[in-house]
Structure formats: structure tokens, C-alpha cells
């Protein structure tokens, strides 16, 4: 059981380049999330989705877009990367079942924007 898989694990971009981070979960979870982790800032929610075809903004959505075309996948896009987007990005998923509230995390993507 793979759980939550993120690709790629590492990426270096130049300012202005674009890229897409892929998150895939095999637990049939309804809810999916993208966070970024920065020193001293903890985890901050970028965007999230409560079901296929739906997305919503989190705490720090600017500069990012997301899509949830399939239930198992949640894509995070950077249209024009900036050095301020250098971070470690984590995807997470959760069941919608009452009593099963818990996030399962991927292993992260380390992104550097030069």
C-alpha cells in the first residue's frame, strides 16, 4: 500500500519557469491538501480539495494553482516560479468518514527557485 506519493522529490527551477507537482493517493480519500514547509513558519496550507472537481484556497494560495480532475490525484502548479517559492512541499490526504479524521502525508518535494 503506497499511501500518498509525491513526484518529483527534488527540483531546481529558474525564476519565471513553470512546473507541476503531482500528488497521488491510493486510499480512496475525498480530501486532499497541499502545504509548504519553511523554517520558522511551520506548515502553511496552500490549497485543498474536498472532492473530485473541487478546489479551495488555503492560507497562502498566491502564485499557485491546483487541479483535482481525478479523485486520486491533486496537482499543484507554479506558473511563474519566484525565489520566495523555494520550500519543501507536502501533499496530504484524508478520509471524509466521521471518526476517521487524520491526515496522511507524502514524503515531500524539495523545490529550489534560483
Amino acid at each position: 500500500n503506497a499511501g500518498v506519493t509525491q513526484t518529483p522529490k527534488f527540483r531546481v527551477l529558474k525564476t519565471g519557469q513553470s512546473m507541476t507537482l503531482l500528488c497521488a493517493q491510493d486510499m480512496n480519500h475525498e480530501y486532499m491538501y497541499w502545504y509548504r514547509q519553511d523554517p520558522g513558519m511551520g506548515l502553511r496550507l496552500i490549497h485543498y480539495s474536498v472532492g473530485e472537481g473541487t478546489t479551495a484556497k488555503g492560507e497562502v494560495p498566491d502564485g499557485y494553482n491546483v487541479s483535482r480532475l481525478k479523485k486520486q490525484n491533486f496537482l499543484l502548479g507554479l506558473e511563474s516560479a519566484a525565489p520566495s517559492q523555494t520550500s519543501v512541499y507536502f501533499c496530504a490526504s484524508s478520509s471524509s468518514d466521521s471518526g476517521d479524521e487524520k491526515l496522511f502525508f507524502g514524503s515531500g518535494t524539495q523545490l529550489s527557485v534560483l
Binding site: G42, L43, L45, G99, L103
Partner: protein, 115 residues
């Protein structure tokens, strides 16, 4: 709006001593509360959660946490620390009465257990 505060950037404790990592929260309704642990170069792992019921919840690896509604706190505790408990700990909250599905995290507390 939901928020979580972890007032200590780092907690040092001697092996065998009890440990406490502090967390306070703010939500408009009733909270779901969580603790997660992150080991170096890894994703976050679930430790325990408070949903309802008994204010003292027990979790993985001998950790427990106490929900205190009047103080809006959810401190993580362990009776006897191990060197292997050294890691980064995150508290998180979700507002269960507002209909939001957002999990908001604190800034994290680094726990160092000294041999």
C-alpha cells in the same frame, strides 16, 4: 479563523525525564486537535487526535495529550523521554462546527532528548 500557537521553538529534556510540548489553539467552534511528528527528511506522521470524549488521549509511541477547553490548550506529554523521540512536533487544529475541512498547523517545536 483557525490558528495554532506553539510557543516554544525548542524543548530540551534529559532521557528518562517527563516531557511536555505546548500547544494552544483558536477556533470559532469546537475543535478537532492533532499532534504529528516529523523525523529528518521525512513527511509528517500522525501521533494522536482529540475528537470528543475523554480529555486525555493516548497515541503512538507512549505519547498522550490533554485537551483543556477553558485554556484552549492541547499539550503533548510523555512520562519518560527517549533519545529516539528527538524530532520536530506539530500541533494542528480543524474547526469541526464551521463546516471547514482545513487543517491548520502550528510552527512546530523541536524536541531534543539528551542522553
Amino acid at each position: 479563523a483557525q490558528s495554532v500557537a506553539q510557543p516554544e521553538d525548542q524543548v530540551n529534556v534529559a532521557e528518562g525525564n517527563p516531557l511536555t510540548v505546548k500547544c494552544t489553539y483558536s477556533v470559532s467552534g469546537n475543535p478537532y486537535l492533532f499532534w504529528y511528528v516529523q523525523y529528518p527528511n521525512r513527511g509528517l506522521q500522525f501521533l494522536l487526535k482529540y475528537i470528543t470524549g475523554d480529555n486525555l488521549v493516548k497515541g503512538s509511541y507512549g505519547f498522550e495529550a490533554e485537551f483543556n477547553k477553558s485554556q484552549t490548550s492541547f499539550h503533548l506529554k510523555k512520562p519518560s523521554a527517549l533519545v529516539s523521540d528527538s524530532a520536530l512536533y506539530f500541533c494542528a487544529v480543524r474547526d469541526k462546527t464551521s463546516g471547514t475541512y482545513k487543517y491548520i498547523f502550528g510552527t512546530g517545536t523541536r524536541l531534543k532528548v539528551l542522553a
